[in-house]
Amino acid sequence: MLVGIDVGGTFTDFVVVDSETGEQRQHKVPSTPANPADAVVNGLTDLGIPIRSYDRIVHGTTVATNTIIQRSGVTTGLITTEGHRDTLAIRRGTKPERQVFNNQWVEPEPLVPRYLRLDVRERMNARGEVVVELDEDELRLAVEHLVEHGAEAVAVCFLFSYLNDTHERRAEEIIGAMDVPIDVSRSSDILPQWREFERSVTTVADAYIKPVMRHYIDELATRLDDQGFSRDLLIMRSNGGVMTAASAAERPIETFLSGPAGGVVAGMYYGRQVGEANVITIDIGGTSFDAAMISEGRLSTTTESWIDDVTPLNIAMLDIRTIGAGGGSIAWIDAGGALKVGPRSAGADPGPACYGRGGSEPTVTDANVVLGRLGAKTLLGGRLEIDEQAARAAIDRHVAKPLGLSVEAAAEGIVRICVANMAAELKAMTAEQGVNPRDFAILAGGGGGPLHAAALAAEFGIARVIVPAFPGLLSAGGLVLSDLRVDRLKSFRCRLERDGADALAAAASDLVEEVVEALHSEGYQDEPVVEVSLDMKYSGQNWEIRVEVPTTIDAGELRRRFDETHHGLYGFSLPGHTHEVLSIRATAIGPNSAASESVPRRTPGTAATDRPPSTSRRMWDDAKHQFVDGSVYAWDDMGEGATVRGPAIIEGMDSTVWLPGDGHAVVDEYGNVIVDLKART
């Protein structure tokens, strides 16, 4: 028995799978932000299954993200190389793009104030050779200073430690031996990669959340333990794999995207289920839009994410893009008369105008109500009465009148602009990954995903949209599917033309050994799946490209692969130039053998194929700019093979599918709705 538990801002979701019978259950309870463990335990209790009978509890948590975003971590210190006390404050010396012409800009404060950023005598050079020995007494003095001022965690970041980590390791040893209550994060462990600002920020962020995460995990484990649970408590990693709770407490920064990562993993499995190797997963909630990619059956990863607009976080994680666009996004007119949507959101309280809870500004949800795409009883499973007049009034007053448009045209514009904002983010993501979005299917998750996926697909000429059986439980569903996964990075600089590939191959094989060992220490006993890639560039260039490497490393083959990738990404290659390797990345995966049988599914209803719709009503047609008559179906009633032609709406418990006029949808054997946007039969 497995359970995936995803803690979101509003709800904590549960998906339970009995791997023997294939039986599944879903559950939702309100989240308890003050202490997220409460909702976890409450929900498990509600489910009524004895906690000790679970083999595996997999947890997606936003503790790391929230602690960083809300700046609620512990007092943290930084120990660094002499003369480099201000790396965090100098950043890269820039303003964010949108603030270039704002002389009233407010610089974000570093996570560590200056009096806790201490530089000590030690130095390596750019070849990783010791130039100045570590002054161990000075280091002790620094640690004492930090402890005296209440630091509960310290990051150690010395220059060039990615080439030679002996000083950092020694520092960690000394601090460990000092018997002071302080957690240590070491930059050569967290991010052994050049550029000290990016490495320091990432290491500091890890330290900053470490005691918070450990406290949370300890509490959760204790409470589960009290109920007799003695098996694996696993935490979702940002890279789409899972780790033991103990590892998460050790390297909490790896859980930065733990929350949304589950949904992406789920997307990969839904893709497999319906035979799509290329999938863009979207998750649209009330305030935000998350998007990620599965390319040729594999999760697409990145090493660049941002804490705020000038502070990067460079660890291996799924490439998940988030923007402030969702059902609650507010539409407004700017000073030049342009219609804008978001990023401000009406949130859950007061919520969109149509909720009738005092919201008066028009939102994307209000626009969907006006366009007839959200029915009167479709929100929150019918628990919320929709006030269509309030939605119309808000749009009329704030958008339609000022722009001289009809309420419907304004509503259409609001939805289109919201979708365009999302499309821009997808465009940036696919461009950076060097793929063509047209080759992908969209997997529509979250309450709002199925409502907007068809329009988003149309932006790119994408033909297929997969609406999974429980779109609102996408992340929780993914948690039960995740593999154990360990990623490691090692700096290794060489020029293939000059140095050949022998030393590189040896270093790669060491790193592989290291990840396999790490995976075994997480409790995985079988033969893991291993992947190796290299960060490469043309010598003199600076931006590395990740190149997958074959099992045997051959210089000629590596050069060829790099040229090909470069050409694919940027439209040209320079095969005669020197090819340089910067670092090696290795991944060990312990596959989750029960995954394929555990994909969430919906027991199909009994209704026959081509059964007439439950009801019909007016729906806005974007192409004709007018209302047309469309059908409304109840998802729960629809049997396998049931087909629907647009314009139509399929109403489920936690979301609504909008099928435009040229769309065609089929319910498959798992209860998923597969939308085909090209079929015009």
Binding site: T94, D137, W194, I417, G571
Partner: protein, 641 residues
């Protein structure tokens, strides 16, 4: 037909940004005499076209933005020089067929401002009749548009059905362009030819095929041919990426619709900019600023400015400014225009897209032959990196009189540019470097000043120590905030930065171009001034010298070819920003945290801010890491000795 060499040397005097400025200058009217009536200003219909709708406008604006973001991505990721890939010192832009910009990367105000002239000059050299699909024009002729010689402008028109639909362009800073100083920025050049290759507009690609002769000319004139080739290809790659996306946009919307909305976007920006200027009280605001020296003579140079706000237009009048300088601090007109716009944009909503429409209400009168509009063959390499900052400062000083709450106190407005190079011992190849440092900006009425790269390039990323030491024969001993550099005040200025570069391998030959070593940033309303800039050489014995001490050159901050030996250090201490209001009115919490964080010394806390000596001592004893560490080192040394 202009004879090509004419174009190279054509002075700024013949080029006017707009009609309003030209009529004012030709009429020889003083700024007070300018009539209030609207006929002096270009009247354009800015109402949205009845054929347009605001939804489509927003969609197309977003699509264009996505395109230049992708162009930018290609550039950074394929570039070869640190100034490209770490510094991101380039701008990508999308123009309409009239060569008015529609959407561009908002990072480098100098390049954004000069872009229009640079692109026009590039296309005008040929005329549309002589430009074919697939042609790519490149040039670096600073007197007709690019900001200075190291910055090349590359232009690629996108055709649709035989007509020019869109023009894509990029300006990017290259690591070397030949000339007397490696890195292209001598601090003491006496004419523009010493600053490097001047490439008039030429076709680098003809109908999609590279012209090998042009490539040979360019690459023969740089010390870093291999990486320069890569950098030019990065620029080209970015234009090709952009073209692919523009074609998709044309497929989707059609040429007519795209044309309509490109114009609507310019109108939209102009409407918003004009509405923003209306918020500034009408009046004449005067200010002047002094440049320390010019690198060739030690004389200061004065920029005199009168700014007049007429309803929704701003006229900036530089008549009365000093004649062009003997050294390289002269601005081509495009640079001065960019700097004026930079200052005005800083008072208006930063979300206004800064396309042609945003520039339209800003009119600049800059007489030819002056420091703000120099004539051939004036040296000008530092006009873009340094004098741009001074022009922006003097305009800001005028605006501060009009709307103090929207402005800031004076900034230590220098880029602190150090360039140089030599040959590597390992392979005997040339290498060059271009380094700059963040500086202290002025205090705001409500907030302390910040510290970033100065006006000309607030998005120019600093080089991390690990990159500097890996790519160049330096060891960076110190890269920290400069204590006590900020001008004290109720709100204080931003701190400057101090960086110490030690020579580890052979001898380094360096050039410097910086300001504010003589005239520091002043405080406002009782606030104190920031500390001035210092560029020093520290000998192996620990003594500090200026370049003047060492070589007898004219300026301690503008020089070229100064040799620094093994074990010696080049020390750059950036100036601080000016403070606002009396230091004794500073909030006790802010004052204590400045002392706790060692941003100010105990002495300044007591003498300038009026903190009680006992309390200051207590804070230092408790929090000062420098003191604690020094005491520790003393004990250790004492024990050993």
């Amino acid at each position: 037909m202009l004879f090509p060499s004419d174009a190279v040397v054509r002075s700024g005097g013949a080029v006017y940004f707009d009609d309003t400025a030209r009529r004012m200058a030709e009429g020889a009217l003083g700024i007070e005499e300018l009539p209030e009536d609207a006929e002096w200003f270009v009247q354009r219909d800015l109402e949205p076209s009845p054929d347009s709708d605001p939804i489509q406008l927003e969609l197309i604006a977003g699509a264009l933005r996505s395109i230049w973001i992708e162009m930018q991505l290609t550039m950074t990721r394929t570039a070869y020089s640190p100034v490209f890939y770490e510094g991101e010192d380039y701008t990508v832009a999308i123009f309409d067929a009239h060569l008015d910009r529609v959407s561009q990367r908002e990072g480098f105000p100098s390049q954004m401002g000069a872009m229009q002239q640079a692109v026009r000059a590039g296309i005008e050299m040929f005329g549309w009749d002589s430009i074919d699909d697939g042609d790519v024009v490149v040039h670096n002729s600073a007197l007709i548009g690019t900001p200075h010689l190291p910055e090349f402008c590359m232009i690629k028109p996108v055709f649709r059905d035989g007509q020019v639909a869109v023009v894509l362009a990029t300006i990017a800073h290259h690591a070397d362009v030949g000339g007397v100083a490696p890195g292209g920025m001598p601090g003491d050049s006496t004419d523009v030819h010493q600053e490097g290759l001047i490439l008039p507009p030429v076709k680098l690609f003809r109908q999609g095929k590279p012209d090998p002769e042009i490539w040979r000319v360019i690459l023969a004139n740089t010390r870093t041919a291999a990486s320069s080739y890569g950098d030019f290809m990065a620029m080209y790659g970015s234009l090709v990426t952009g073209e692919r996306r523009i074609n998709e946009l044309l497929d989707k919307y059609g040429h007519d619709t795209l044309r309509l909305y490109m114009r609507e976007l310019q109108k939209y920006s102009e409407r918003r900019m004009r509405a923003a200027i209306r918020e500034i009280p009408n009046g004449i605001y005067r200010a002047e600023i002094l440049a320390d020296d010019d690198g060739v003579t030690a004389d200061p140079h004065r920029i005199t400015m009168a700014l007049r706000v007429f309803a929704e237009d701003v006229v900036v009048d530089f008549r009365g400014s000093d004649e062009q300088a003997a050294g390289p601090i002269n601005c081509p007109l495009a640079v001065s225009l960019a700097a004026c716009a930079n200052a005005v944009f800083n008072l208006t909503d930063p979300s206004i897209p800064h396309n042609q429409g945003a520039f339209a209400p800003i009119h600049v009168i800059a007489p030819a032959g002056t420091i703000v509009n120099c004539d051939y063959p004036a040296p000008l390499s530092a006009g873009n990196t340094e004098t741009h900052n001074l022009v922006a400062e003097v305009v800001m000083a005028g605006l501060r009189q009009a709307v103090p709450t929207l402005t800031m106190a004076p900034t230590g407005a220098t880029t602190g540019l150090i360039t140089g190079g030599g040959r590597r011992e390992a392979d005997d190849d040339f290498y060059t470097f271009v380094l700059w440092e963040p500086t202290g900006y002025g205090a705001r009425l409500q907030r302390d000043g910040y510290m970033i790269t100065t006006w000309v390039a607030p998005q120019a990323r600093q080089f991390p120590t690990e990159v500097v030491e890996t790519e160049q024969p330096w060891r960076v001993l110190r890269y920290e905030l400069r204590k006590d550099s900020a001008g004290a005040g109720r709100t204080r200025g931003g701190l400057g930065l101090v960086r110490e570069y030690q020579v580890v391998d052979g001898e380094q030959v360096v050039n410097s171009i910086a300001h504010y070593h003589r005239f520091a940033a002043q405080g406002v309303e009782g606030g104190m001034g920031g500390k001035p800039l210092e560029v020093r050489i520290r000998t192996v014995d620990g003594d500090e010298q200026t370049a003047v001490d060492r070589t007898g050159c004219v300026s301690p901050a503008k020089f070229s070819g100064v040799k620094i030996g093994p074990g010696e250090c080049l020390v750059v201490r950036m100036p601080g920003g000016g403070g606002w209001g009396s230091p004794t009115e500073r909030s006790p919490t802010a004052l204590r945290s400045d002392l706790r964080d060692e941003l100010i010394s105990r002495r300044v806390a007591i003498e300038v801010y009026g903190l009680a000596p006992d309390e200051a001592s207590e804070i230092c004893a408790r929090y000062s890491w420098e003191d604690k560490r020094a005491a520790h080192r003393q004990t250790v040394t004492g024990a050993v000795g």
